[in-house]
Amino acid sequence: MHLKTRPSAVRVALALLILGATIVGCSQSSSPRQSRDQITLAEAQELGSYSPFASYGELGVSPIYEGLLRPQADSDAEIPNLVPALAAAAPESIGPGRWRLQLREGVTFSDGSAFDSTDVVATYAALKDPAVASEIATNVAPITAVTADGPHAVIIDVDTETDPSPYLLTGIVPSEKVEQVPAADWALNVAPVGTGPYRLDSLRPDQAVMVAREDYWGEKPQVTRIVYTHTPDDNTRAQRIIAGEVDGASLPPRLIRSVQSGDVSTVAVKSADWRGVSFPAGQPFTADPQARLAMNLGVDRTAVIRDVLDGHGRPAYTPIGDVYGDAYNPDATFTFDATAAAAILDRAGWRPGSDGIREKDGARAEFELLYNASDTLRRDLSVAFASAMKPLGIQVDPRGSSWDEIDTRFDTSAVLLGGGSTPYSIDSQVYDTLHTRVPDSSPYSNPGNFTAPGLDELLERARQSPSGVDKDALYRDVQASYIAQPSNVFLAFLDHTYAYRNLGWKQTAPILEPHSHGVTWGPWWRLNAWTR
């Protein structure tokens, strides 16, 4: 029996070849034209958790939620003004530590229910409720009570003299949606209900879609559809924006240069988001104030910003940047001087040992620097800091770790910290970071518990005083006193870097950003105000 057959291998190979050619052919065809009123953004964080209690829209900036007040500015070079959003007017003082806020009328939530003072009261009660265990509870720490004054006004009690405005930014949720369970388990996370110009239309692990609301109290947005696509990898986001698959993305500073082109613009937005190194109290070298001063003098912040951040940042010497206007002290800086640093260390008794590392009375100038392993920027900053310290005879060993291990190691290791999550009030920007620790402090507030002479009293007085010339003067003294005896090495205020495609929209200029991630900020912080 002689069967006439072609070898099966060839047949299979042919079939595969045809299949392959078809697929390649399919992929060459252009992607479907997207609606002109749609914006597609690549989000690095996980989608979901759309609840103010999970820190979404905690500063009043989000498409879905609005707070009593919201930030407003024309550029990122200044602290924004806080203007009424759900409030009808600015808060009025009706007594020491007591303010009255009139609420806007005729506002509805995206589920149709009306907005009134019970929603405000419920939101703030839930923020402080230990059963909810909201991670942003510290943001509203100065507010002691919020009570209703009729359906369209609330009374706010604060424990300081200052304007409560910076603490009135959190998004308001309907009182019916408040639950007595931990914030991560709320239904609001996947079915948010807010008063903002958009509502959530669909949510899948890789894509979330928001559409403009018909019943929004303000002007209907011209951008009618926002699509968030979950792309955790930096380089994939870069590739997608080059290929035109997305219209905007946040990217690490060193990557935006490779995406810039005729179609893709990039922008670096100023922020109060600082990075710095905290030191352990249990290590003899770092416990020496002279050593900390020397380390501040021995790091070239300009070079770090130029090389690690690709120029996208400003040097930070204290937690207060020049955006704070008169409260900023321009003389409170460290000029890079490695020789002076070495001289200070020599004078303090830290002499180079046999292997080049300084020592004194048997203690070595050597410590570990911990950073959050999943953050590449912190890793790079740690490595850069270690390289800067080595020529001075200080051995710094960077190591990637996670927050809860770092938690237990503050006594023995330095940590690369970040801060500036609530920068719209200079008090919240500065107090916890520079003040000595109190029993209930977060472990990350001034972990070494170092201070300078008189610094604590200055901080107290500055926090208590109302805004004005005196407050500014006090904060300038705070900076001067810190510079004389620093507790940390602040490295830089980051510029958040974004890339976007030019689609013919007239965008709202970005404002000063807090310690944040992702595409809720950047050029898209106020999408509902974009016009053609």
Partner: protein
């Protein structure tokens, strides 16, 4: 016939030479280069006279960095292989000597552990002790010992029944004598083979764990962390950051695999049955 034998002898031995060269490079290059300082101002430079393999994301010379990575990956992989082999050998020997229902029960456990998806368990364990080298070694060692246990046990059972061992016993040799002179050499022989075959797999595992971010600290050099960082750099056009570490990883794995099959071929143990 003689030409076949000659050519076979000529080609055998090259995997070991290559392996030796790799190990020497991994030890000598970092030693010779001394301590390296990161310098972000000369990051991601293409290969040139000063830096034959270019520079990486941190500004380190990529050739030296890859050699350091190779060293750490090899060390970690060797530790994993040793742990897995020792554990597997002990359990295998114990099970074979115990016999009976203990043996059957242990074999069930071996099958069970063997069935687990190694990488999944490895990821979960390594993630829980984020970046701790001991955890990585434990996670790989604890999932790979079953293969060794099985082989060692089978070999031990075969040899115990062998003719010459029985003769020894009949001649009045003590248990210790038999163990020392007959069982231990065979067992160690098989264990060594198993260990050599485990090495490329251990290198693979450690680099995968580091690549996924649950292995060694990202500022340290290991083939996995280098490749994880390369994932970012290739989009900026820095192809050398992928080619150099990936090339050394593949070369190492190939040499190990070739050496391992060589060892297995050479040390084909006596079947245990002379008559």
């Amino acid at each position: 016939m003689s030409t076949l034998v000659l050519s076979r002898r000529a080609v055998t031995g090259w995997p070991w030479l290559l392996l030796a060269a790799i190990v020497v490079a991994a030890v000598a290059v970092p030693l010779g280069a001394g301590e390296q300082l990161a310098d972000f101002s000369r990051a991601l430079q293409p290969p040139s006279a000063a830096h034959p393999a270019g520079t990486d994301h941190f500004g380190y010379d990529l050739l030296i960095r890859t050699a350091q990575g190779l060293q750490i990956s090899l060390l970690t992989a060797a530790s994993c292989a040793v742990v897995a082999t020792v554990l597997g050998a002990l359990i295998g020997v114990g099970s074979a000597l115990a016999g009976g229902w203990v043996d059957a029960a242990v074999m069930r456990v071996v099958d069970g552990v063997n069935a687990l998806p190694h990488l999944v368990v490895g990821i979960v364990i390594a993630a829980m002790w984020r970046g701790e080298p001991l955890a990585i070694i434990a996670s790989i060692g604890l999932t790979h010992w079953p293969a060794v246990a099985r082989v060692v046990r089978a070999e031990l059972l075969a040899v115990t029944d062998a003719g010459w061992v029985q003769t020894s016993r009949l001649a009045g040799a003590s248990r210790w004598f038999i163990a020392r002179h007959h069982l231990v050499p065979t067992v160690t022989g098989q264990a060594v083979v198993a260990m050599v075959m485990l090495l490329p797999h251990a290198v693979w595992h450690e680099s995968t764990l580091s690549f996924l971010g649950v292995g060694l600290s990202p500022d340290r050099a290991s083939l996995g962390t280098l490749l994880g960082q390369a994932r970012g750099n290739i989009l900026a056009g820095a192809w050398w950051t992928l080619v150099v570490p990936a090339g050394s990883l593949i070369l190492t794995a190939l040499s190990f695999a070739a050496a391992a099959s060589e060892t297995r071929r050479r040390s084909e143990p006596p079947s245990g049955r002379v008559w």
